[in-house]
Amino acid sequence: MGCGCGDCEAMMQPYLDGMLSDRELGEAREHLARCAGCDRRYRFEEDLRHFVRIAVEEPMPDELRRRLADLRSSPPAAQP
């Protein structure tokens, strides 16, 4: 359950988003150095954000790329 203090759980998103004040950040770092449970949960959240970004990757279809290129006012081939 982490350390069960609830504060660390509420601080996690602002911490990872860089939204904490210097004082809060200092307190958070101090706590994470002492509390392995919270530290693992914070690192998991960071990994999760990365994993979500990678997991939803879907390459753009070539057909769409061609259609977009055709929308140009003057395709490079037609230029002098």
């Binding site: 359950m1 982490g2 759980e9 509420a10 996690m12 998103q13 939204m19 392995a36 449970g37 693992r40 949960r41 690192r43 998991f44 959240e45 990994d47 999760l48 954000r49 994993f51 979500v52 970004r53 997991a55 939803v56 990757e57 879907e58 390459p59 753009m60 279809p61 769409l64 790329r65 259609r67 977009l68 290129a69 929308l71 140009r72 006012s73 003057s74 230029q79």
Partner: protein
């Protein structure tokens, strides 16, 4: 001197505008992979995303003069795209009466960890409980208002300010929706974890 013949200055101006336009188009096309990536998760299906991106570029190329050089072109394109998406009536799908399920920020970790027999496993082992499909499905189940913000900030890597401008909502709303949206996403993921 004929009246209809354009002056040298005017000829130069026309040539410059044509060059600016080509430069704009090339720059916009260079961002198409990133635009598609965001569009794919804002739209319900791949076909919808493709249509949205195509319509976005058609509109952007028509109104290229409205873009202010030096500002964020990717955000400008996404603003067009989200407006088109709303015009297509995707808001109709909303069900505002249902409150999405939401738990605390540690909920997913605690649930996944409890499915592993080791005590205090590494976070890498915990994340292995999640599959790529689970993430795609869970994200699709997050209600639109929250999902839009997650897609722009966490997947599109837009700043809060850019996301606010794209969605035409205050920055504070971006932040609160992002925080709640991530909790909703994790709540959905907890149901889709790989069982050991």
């Amino acid at each position: 001197m004929s009246e209809s013949a354009p002056s040298a200055a005017e000829t130069r101006r026309i040539a410059e505008a044509a060059r600016d336009r080509v430069r704009f188009e090339e720059e916009a096309l260079g961002l198409s992979d990133q635009v598609f990536r965001v569009a794919r998760r804002l739209a319900g299906s791949r076909e919808e995303a493709e249509d949205l991106v195509q319509d976005t570029y058609a509109r952007a190329f028509r109104s290229w003069r409205q873009y202010q050089p030096g500002t964020n072109l990717r955000a400008w394109l996404l603003r067009i795209l989200t407006n088109l998406n709303i015009d297509r009536g995707r808001r109709v799908q909303r069900t505002p009466e249902t409150q999405p399920l939401e738990e605390g920020d540690y909920f997913l970790y605690n649930k996944l960890e409890s499915s592993i027999s080791d005590e205090n496993p590494d976070e890498e082992r915990v994340i292995e409980r999640l599959s790529q499909n689970a993430v795609v499905e869970a994200l699709a189940e997050v209600p639109h208002d929250f999902r839009d913000v997650i897609v722009l900030v966490d997947i599109g890597e837009f700043s809060y300010a850019d996301a606010a401008q794209i969605l035409d909502i205050p920055v504070g709303t971006v932040m609160s929706r992002l925080h709640r949206g991530r909790r909703i996403l994790k709540r959905q993921l907890a149901d889709k974890a790989v069982s050991v």
